[in-house]
């Protein structure tokens, strides 16, 4: 495998700029912004409702959120009563809802779940279209296959990161201006953290798309296969779990089983999940590259 850093940089930068012109980036940009802002809007309404109805107990609302998040994060709910008799909240939800801006935490959790479903729209046509049209042959006169494959992956990842940065910045800024219940520093730090974890999470799913795109000769087939794998794994795990508990482990075929730990208060858990995501990325990228290297283009 010969990788030239200059070629890699050139191809990735071109691919980032080309993403919108090519159409895939434009659709991803629109869907990501729409999805992110709609999610934020739903939680905005919830917050407004709480503020407008003074008769509602705010702590009760936090406890409802806590129960939902415990269910989402699969946290055991054996909350031991403390000396005061009030159950102690578990450390994970306490970190997300009490120590950090809760509104942003809830939005990030939904984005962590939903954004992987959108990424295939951006990544499905990294090489499939050019393989189908045989256009890659002209490019291969000037550079190695590895530079094209990894350069386009990096370009797509950069584009996705820019979109996520814009989305998270908009949401954090809006939440700060509208509610004024969190300090600017807390919002900025937590916003940066959320941006970081969502960006890291996109990489393995984008790598799945790279592998699919390199393996089939039709962009449509690549999109369908990427979507089917990314959506199919959690559905298969959820259905399988009801029939036979060990089938729940299907979710570890993709980062679905570890991705929530990116929001964990313990650094060891966070680092483990981040390393896991990067490991999945390397694995899927290499599988795709092996296929791309060997196939007739």
């Amino acid at each position: 495998m010969k990788i030239h850093s200059r070629h890699l940089r050139l191809i990735s930068m071109y691919w980032t700029r080309y993403a919108v012109r090519g159409g895939a980036g434009l659709v991803y940009l629109l869907l990501a912004l729409l999805f992110g802002l709609i999610v934020a809007h739903i939680f905005e309404k919830q917050q407004e409702y709480l503020q407008e109805n003074a008769s509602l107990d705010p702590q009760m609302a936090v406890e409802i959120d806590r129960s939902v998040i415990q269910w989402v994060l699969d946290i055991e709910t054996d909350r031991n009563p403390s000396v005061t008799g009030i159950p102690e909240p578990d450390p994970w939800t306490a970190y997300l809802l009490d120590e950090r801006p809760a509104l942003l935490s809830k939005i990030f959790l939904v984005l962590l779940f939903g954004m992987p479903f959108l990424i295939s729209v951006l990544g499905f046509n990294q090489t499939a279209g050019d393989i189908q049209s045989r256009g890659l042959r002209y490019l291969m006169l000037r550079t190695e296959r590895a530079n094209i494959y990894f350069g386009r992956f990096l370009g797509s990842a950069l584009f996705s990161t820019i979109v996520i940065a814009f989305l998270v910045a908009t949401i954090a800024f809006y939440v700060g201006m509208k509610f004024r219940i969190y300090s600017a520093g807390a919002l900025a730090v937590w916003g940066l953290y959320g941006f970081g974890v969502i960006s890291i999470l996109m990489l393995p799913y984008l790598a799945v798309c790279s592998a699919m795109s390199a393996s089939v000769s039709s962009p449509f087939l690549s999109l369908a296969a990427s979507k089917l794998i990314i959506v199919g794994v959690p559905i298969a795990a959820a259905i399988g779990k009801h029939n036979w508990e060990p089938l729940n482990n299907i979710k570890y075929l993709l980062p679905w089983g570890i991705q929530n730990y990116l929001m964990h208060p313990e650094w060891t858990h966070f680092l483990g999940a981040a390393a896991g995501c990067l490991g999945y990325t390397a694995l899927f990228l290499m599988l795709g590259y092996i296929r791309f290297q060997r196939r007739d283009l």
């Binding site: 071109y14 080309y18 919108v20 012109r21 090519g22 159409g23 895939a24 980036g25 434009l26 659709v27 940009l29 629109l30 912004l33 729409l34 802002l37 709609i38 934020a40 809007h41 905005e44 490019l139 908009t170 809006y174 509208k178």
Partner: protein, 169 residues
């Protein structure tokens, strides 16, 4: 790697999005027209139920709430500002579809000019909606209105930067 004569995939995607959005907005306009009759019919039905059973409101308080909601919807739809803005909203809907055709044919007038016109009118109408409509009827500026500005702002950027040299015929 770029061919200026060939239509870029992004422009095709933009045209398809225009058609989809245009269709949705047309259905919305149709819904507003039909909604008016729907409200009147529902109101008549509730009034008749109350006439037949005078204790209905006491027994089922949600009926009174339904009646109140219908009256509010009727009030909103008969507000002159709302009606004017609804009517003006048909202009960008038409422009969306016309400019979509222009994008596909890569026309300067039909594509770029109409597309820009759609974006500017939508932004102006969006601001007018926030400023002019009674606060009793709307939430004012919020994330919902921000969502409404995404596509026109993006259209302005794409037509005048990304696809500037593709809409020249």
């Amino acid at each position: 790697m770029e061919d200026t004569g060939k239509r870029p995939g992004g422009l095709t995607a933009l045209a398809v999005i225009n058609f989809i959005l245009g269709g949705i907005l047309l259905l919305g306009a149709l819904g507003t027209i039909l909604g008016k009759y729907g409200i009147e019919m529902s109101e008549k039905a509730i009034d008749e139920r109350i006439r037949n059973d005078p204790n209905l409101v006491e027994r089922e308080p949600q009926v009174a709430q339904q009646k109140e909601d219908l009256e509010m919807a009727k009030k909103i739809l008969s507000d002159p500002t709302v009606r004017t803005l609804n009517l003006l909203g048909l202009i960008p809907t038409g422009l969306l579809i016309v400019s979509g055709v222009g994008y596909l044919k890569q026309k300067k007038m039909l594509g770029r000019t109409m597309g820009n016109l759609y974006a500017v009118i939508t932004i102006v109408l969006g601001i007018a909606e926030i400023v002019l409509i009674d606060k009793e009827y709307t939430e004012g500026f919020g994330l919902a209105s921000l969502i409404g500005f995404i596509y026109p702002v993006l259209t302005l950027f794409l037509l005048n930067v990304t696809f500037k040299d593709d809409l020249v015929e």
